[in-house]
């Protein structure tokens, strides 16, 4: 049994500010005695929420971790239910929605404490993807008073014919971790679901539970039905907890120039782990998690129980780690963002963040995982893996001290989620376009949705929304005589249920351990294995298909803390065997690479430009910057520094926009195209979070000096025009973005593990669909949806546009004889990071070249 360490068990301590309207005695009796029996008194924000709920008003509660947020959310419901005579059998009273099913399950378990202590006749149940079909059936027939679920399950319930009946009695909705939900497509899905709930149960009120965010009004609008005036829910802000104690590791070792591994700091991290009770070691990617875990075990002379936790590991394995944490059997866990949110699994007293913090709010969220007592500071240690990251860590510590937030701005509801919702609503029952439109624009993310876009979505759901109207007879939803839309047949509802949700996983392959490969004789590479392998080996987890595309059979990589060799891919499984290798190919799987937040980037730029503030930096870093000042220039505030220098027979151009890898990659693509046209003969480029390096045959620097071209022209904003269009047409990232939209919108069906046995030649490739659609109907709703995603998602075009506007006419060009100190990190990435450019056919030319070599060599 796991100790009751959950959110309700963490008691609110005395916190009473003397305001009469908030006096504890507004609590009815069993509750007052329950608080008293535990030696607690209710907190001001808990009573404030109770008051608002009684007035029938929705509210946003912003509170730090450990402030009794969840209890505050449920208190009005419990009191209401306790006061009802024979509350049982009166239908669903409260709906709780959490982004994590584990959190829903944990909250349900913790609600049992007050319910059973006070002997309340209140039934609490969860409904997640794991809930059995029979229990789901029963829940519809005989719903609990409090149902805890996820956005996807809410969508499913609303899309069923009895959804209206089920939710008619609803009084209250509790939305947990709201700050994390609203910035994603799942938030769009949830917002649409809530709009429908408001229509079914106009009497219900909502409470959103959130950590501190940059713009509270955005969340308040999200909770209120929009009627065109930016309506907002009430706001309750709990007193903040003690500020966290954040330090940066000033390493004894040499701080590396580049890389993200932080292997130099492993012994120092190990010392801290030893000294603490339980440490969470956060890293930014699964690959880093694997590497850090491996390195910690290398130095683990005391055999401390250190575990690994990330999203690719088998779910059972993750559960075991969580249970061991809760039971106090672990000393440290190396983890990715999988532990950013959610259940508190143990008595964590130190958070170590390896690598760049990426954003001030993200860092605070992670630090909040330690020490859930309000009055004590959370302890955190930041470990920069390279010199630029030391700058970023310093900026983040300063931001945290000021309490500055940089959560992403509110999103405009995406069109693919809208399409999915329209079909869901048709599954619930026939609808009139006018009514559904009015309902949808009451949801904040869709408040500015144009009627044409809504109509396009309906037409997409019906027949694909093509200008060439040839699919009318196959329509999925049809218009009846009275103008209402209904689904054409029951199979369509079934297909909707299989495809609901706004998360599209990359195609994953199961990783299965098999016995080692037969020894291949000679130096020849082992033949790829395509035949049958003995089954029955253990499944270690899942890995993205596109990652495995970079591996050849026989290649070794780290997974689940072990060195594995790829044996071959059989159907939808990657067969691997244990291997010994000193230099495993560390998988650079893309999962969890967050871009540097705009806010933190601005702070880093400011820090760089003001040597007076360098006192906060490790000496190695300030020395490095001083050297840069001497040899070249510091990137001036508000301007873009561009350095040019020759090296090894090539000419380099390095720019320092500090806008994150995604925006830099897009910029690199566009710059090289433009340079090509200017006759500067670019060969390739490499991008990291801070800078971008392009190399070329032509001497770019000298030509700029001679004014044969202007740097300002090279970075002019108009590169976002035709060049961008042309590039988007072929971009693999754009195609991946389109695939996500095609799946969410319901254009094509999800692939389920085990259902992928049909040969690839008969499945539909969304890349092919994208190519055809782009040529024949470039304004199609799905292309619009994909474009909008690309603006903020994988291509980060919006951020690039803002940067180009900011530096317009403010390019500072420095021509150098040799590489500058600041340029060293990005130059070191060449050869480590994939090189971009017009390399597509290059791959084939290189591979084909071998044939010639073979032929010549006979």
């Amino acid at each position: 049994m796991r100790e009751a360490k959950g959110r309700l068990a963490r008691g609110p301590q005395a916190f009473y500010d003397g305001d009469v309207t908030r006096r504890p005695d507004i609590l009815p009796d069993p509750f007052r005695s329950w608080f008293a029996a535990r030696g607690w008194s209710p907190r001001a924000h808990q009573l404030e929420l109770l008051k608002l709920a009684r007035q029938g008003r929705s509210a946003l509660l912003v509170a730090p971790t450990g402030a009794g947020k969840t209890l505050a959310g449920f208190l009005p419901s419990l009191i209401d239910l306790a006061g009802q005579e024979g509350a049982r059998g009166e239908g669903l009273h409260t709906l709780y929605v959490s982004p994590l099913k584990a959190l829903a399950v944990d909250v349900a378990r913790n609600l049992e404490t007050p319910v059973s202590d006070m002997g309340l006749a209140v039934r609490v149940e969860t409904r997640t993807g794991d809930t059995s079909a029979s229990k789901r059936q029963r829940q519809r027939r005989d719903p609990p008073h409090i149902l805890l679920t996820t956005p996807e399950q809410l969508a499913l319930l609303l899309a069923s014919a009895d959804g209206e009946h089920l939710f008619a009695t609803l009084r209250r909705v509790v939305l947990d971790e709201l700050h994390a939900v609203v910035s994603s497509k799942r938030g769009d899905l949830l917002a649409l679901g809530l709009a429908r709930l408001r229509k079914i149960a106009p009497q219900m009120t909502m409470v959103g539970l959130s950590a501190t965010v940059r713009d509270l009004d955005e969340l308040r609008r999200w909770l209120a039905p929009q009627r065109g005036h930016g309506e907002k829910a009430e706001l309750v802000v709990a007193a903040p907890g003690a500020p966290p104690a954040i330090a940066m590791l000033d390493t004894r070792e040499r701080l590396p120039w580049s890389g993200h591994g932080a292997s130099h700091a492993i012994p120092e991290i190990y010392e801290r782990i030893k000294a603490a009770r339980l440490t969470l070691v956060f890293v930014n990617t699964r690959a880093q998690a694997e590497a850090t875990f491996q390195q910690l075990w290398h130095v683990n002379e005391d055999a401390l129980p250190i575990a690994l936790h990330h999203g690719s590991l088998d779910a059972g394995q993750r559960r075991r780690v969580e249970e061991a944490m809760a039971a106090g059997r672990l000393k440290a866990v190396v983890c990715t963002s999988t532990l950013d949110l959610g259940v508190d699994w143990g008595d964590v007293d130190l958070v170590v963040n390896v690598g760049a913090p990426k954003g001030a709010s993200r860092l605070l969220q992670r630090i909040g995982r330690a020490n859930h007592r309000l009055d004590e500071s959370s302890q955190a240690l930041l470990v920069p893996a390279n010199r630029f990251e030391a700058l970023e860590c310093t900026a983040a510590i300063e931001a945290a001290a000021e309490g500055a937030q940089d959560t992403p701005p509110a999103r405009t509801g995406s069109l693919d989620v809208l399409c999915q919702h329209v079909l869901g609503m048709a599954c619930a029952g026939p609808f009139l376009g006018d009514d559904l439109y009015e309902e949808i624009v009451s949801a904040e993310p869709y408040a500015r949705l144009r009627r044409e876009d809504f109509d396009d979505a309906v037409s997409f759901v019906a027949t694909g929304g093509y200008a060439l109207q040839t699919y009318d007879r196959f329509a999925k939803i049809k218009r009846m005589q009275d103008g209402r839309w209904r689904i054409a047949n029951a199979k369509i509802a079934q297909s909707y249920r299989m495809n609901v949700g706004a998360i599209v996983e990359s195609d994953m392959l199961r990783v299965r351990l098999v016995r080692g490969a037969p020894k291949s004789s000679g130096g020849a590479a082992p033949a790829p294995y395509t035949g049958r392998v003995t089954r029955g080996g253990r499944v270690l987890g899942e890995i993205e298909e596109y990652f495995l595309e970079t591996l050849a059979p026989g290649d070794t990589f780290l997974f689940g803390g072990e060195v594995l060799a790829l044996q071959g891919i059989v159907e939808n499984e990657a067969h691997v065997s244990r291997a010994h290798s000193d230099a495993p190919k560390v998988p650079s799987y893309a999962g969890g690479k967050f871009p540097l937040s705009t806010y933190l980037a601005a702070r880093v730029r400011k820090l760089l430009a003001s040597p007076k503030a360098w006192g906060a930096l490790p000496e190695q870093v300030s020395d490095w910057l001083a050297l840069q000042k001497e040899k070249s220039l510091l990137p001036p505030s508000g301007k873009l520094l561009v350095e040019t220098f020759p090296r090894g027979g090539r000419h380099y151009l390095v720019a320092y926009p500090f806008e994150g890898r995604l925006a830099h990659q897009t910029l690199g693509m566009l710059l090289t195209r433009r340079m090509e046209r200017m006759g500067l003969k670019p060969l390739g480029f490499v991008a990291n979070e801070y800078a971008l390096a392009v190399w070329s045959i032509a001497d770019v620097g000298t030509r700029a000096k001679k004014e044969l071209f202007h740097m300002d022209d090279l970075f002019a904003q108009d590169m976002l025009g035709d060049d961008l269009e042309e590039w988007l047409q072929e971009s693999a990232l754009m195609k991946r973005t389109f695939r996500t939209c095609a799946i969410i919108s319901g254009l094509i069906e999800r692939r389920f593990p085990g259902k992928q046995k049909t040969g690839r030649q008969v499945t539909i490739s969304t890349d092919l669909v994208y190519d055809v659609l782009r040529r024949h109907q470039p304004d199609h709703i799905l292309l619009r949806a994909a474009r909008e995603d690309a603006m903020t998602g994988l291509l980060d075009i919006e951020r690039l546009a803002q940067m180009l506007a900011r530096v317009n006419g403010r390019i500072v060009h420095k021509h150098l004889e040799r590489i500058s100190p600041l340029a060293v990190p990005i130059m070191l990435e060449i050869g480590r990071e994939p090189v971009y450019g017009e390399a597509q056919d290059e791959i084939l030319a290189l591979a084909a070249g071998e044939l010639v070599d073979e032929a010549m060599g006979g």
Partner: protein, 220 residues
């Protein structure tokens, strides 16, 4: 060269047999979009037009006397009735002034009724053209059906493209249809066709076809 006959793999995915003035394309899969739409998966209805546009372009380049469609020209039996008026006209214009032969495939076993003639297989000199490649076939077979594609990885990165698979005595053509997927050359289905030596993948690049040795083609 294919079994002694000049054979040029074109970047479009068509095979040009200059000596015979014959252009061979395979697996056009016309109306795959509408076949899916019938089952509620609303793929864009533009695939036939897109395929025809590419076909028209390659025909204009070679002006062949004969065009052979190596089977699976339609994605399903009903495709012929669903094809749009404009696409039908385009196809008719393409057929005029030349011989046009529809080889039947597993997706379209019945003769195609859209101009031209139909056959199960045909011979052109020493070559035999049929839809499905046969294990142990006599040298000189040109077939389709399998939709070969290759995954190529080099230090510049990796990609997956359609390809021709040939060992010099027989050739499997890539699928020509806009929505037709690909089957990796490493799939077990290819091995029995090339018992003596593995095929070379003639991979379709942006501007030309690259001959990539089998050893450089990886499984998925």
């Amino acid at each position: 060269m294919l079994h002694g006959v000049a054979a040029l793999p074109d970047v479009s995915g068509a095979l040009w047999l200059m000596d015979h003035g014959a252009l061979v394309v395979s697996d056009l899969h016309f109306e795959k979009g509408s076949a899916y739409a019938m089952r509620g998966v609303m793929l864009p209805p533009y695939d036939t037009a897109a395929t025809l546009a590419r076909l028209g372009e390659v025909i204009a380049r070679y002006t062949p006397k004969i065009v052979v469609a190596l089977g699976d020209s339609f994605h399903d039996g009903g495709g012929e009735k669903r094809i749009g008026e404009a696409d039908r006209t385009t196809l008719c214009e393409m057929q005029s002034g030349r011989e046009w032969i529809w080889i039947s495939g597993n997706h379209d076993p019945d003769p195609v009724g859209l101009g031209g003639s139909c056959a199960k297989e045909i011979s052109l000199g020493p070559l035999t053209l049929r839809h499905e490649p046969q294990t142990g076939a006599a040298p000189g077979e040109i077939a389709g059906h399998l939709h070969p594609s290759a995954r190529v990885v080099s230090r510049a990165g990796g990609l997956r493209r359609r390809c021709f698979a040939s060992d010099g005595s027989r050739c499997v053509l890539p699928a020509f249809g806009a929505f037709a997927g690909g089957l990796n050359l490493r799939d077990a289905a290819f091995a029995p066709l090339f018992p003596n030596a593995p095929p070379v993948a003639h991979v379709m690049g942006r501007g030309r076809v690259y001959a990539v040795p089998f050893a450089r083609c990886l499984s998925d």
